[in-house]
Amino acid sequence: MNNSLIRLTIVAGIQAALFLGCDPGTDPVTGPEPNTCEGCHTSETTLKKYAPAEGETGVGGG
């Protein structure tokens, strides 16, 4: 095994460890059905698409 291949293996290993060790983000790979309340409200991407249309009406106390 030459040096380049060793380096590539090490870098790939570190990246894989970082990927697995970090928060995968706000859009889970597995999650609620996309056309349900949770499906949209757990998706940052979807909310950014629709929330501006809601504007200041979404100010309720929950």
């Binding site: 609620p32 409200h41 629709y50």
Partner: protein, 426 residues
Amino acid sequence: MAPLEPWEKVFIELRRDQNSFADIDPVHALVGCVNCHGGNEPASFEEAHDTTLVHDPSADPEQNCSPCHAQIVATNKNSMHTMAWGERTTIAQRELGAGNDHTNFDECPAELTDGFEGECTSCHTTCGQCHVSRPNSVHGGFIDSHEFNRIPDQNNNCTACHGSRIKIDYEAGLDGNYPDVHYNIGKKCLDCHTEDFHADASGAATRYHLEGLPTCDDPACHIDDDDPPVALEARNQYHQQHWPEDDGAGLSCYVCHSQPYYNCNSCHTGGEWKEGYGPTGDDINEGGRDYVEYPDFKIGYNYDQALHKGKWIVVRHIPVSVDSYEPWGHSTLLSFDDRPTWEYSSPHNIRLYTAQTDTSDGAYCSDNCHMHGVRYAADGTNSNFNPSAPVPDIYLIPDEVIAAETAANQPVTVTTERVSCSPCHD
């Protein structure tokens, strides 16, 4: 407090190992979104957010919270936070007369009661605005991904509403102030405020009438290392001389141990709060409906010695003027003179050493307060009398009161009669 972005307000953030809201709040997830919020699912955006959608289900707690929290809902509907009894009392007294309180509020003209219900009660408050989201006054938004928090968040809930008069005081938001000593040792609101916030408070005319409020001489606090312990009121000569008593003697603790705080000259009855607080005027002596906020520290006469201990208290100009409710269609409060506009205050910026108690470099703290610079010795003799010394500017004297509010503040202003400095002013 800057409002959240619209999408942030309704964002349920699933973190690692979380696949649904059930992983955040498994108990409330059992209820299901539409059972509280209405709307439809699964559905398109429009169908999901149809006319049945309810943003704040806890605005109807009997329907949505009672099934599990019946006892709390039953009492909370008459709690101080829900009903703002104190505000009802102040309006009733300024309209109907001093002998009235919150129980007479409904006797006020309809424009006052309707305006109150439409504006004041809109942020006094719902279950969700303390336990799920930021309150309406800061435009809402989930705090912890819609998790129901048993303990409200201090920054996102408590001081989101109690900001200019608590947060700024507590955290030294005013130039020249130091943080409250309780803040410095990490005390949260609910560490001291152990009163039952959900209790039926319909018998309390104001928040100061609530049972279980924090007190400075709580035996659980301010204990010392002496054996046997020395009571706080006897621990030093200052306390021995000035301890506030039920019979109207002494000083409120705040007189010595609090710092300047914000005062307001009028209210937000024009709906200003909906767009964020901001001054609409700049003349603190004008006394009209313009909203003006300014720092000051004033000592006044204890006008309600049945409620508050001591002869002298700290007073704050509270946000009212004779025409505060003109935007509601009520141009003048008929009994405006029946309640002071400088009211008892309990600033949350407590320090052992303040401008009043500063004795550094051998200074006498009495020089900051006593008339004519008089210094009293333990045996009652006095010295340093200076007949031409001006009245210390920390006193609320009649000349400093807004002209239109002179009569209203007659019970609280500092006069020679009330100082009763014998033998000259008997």
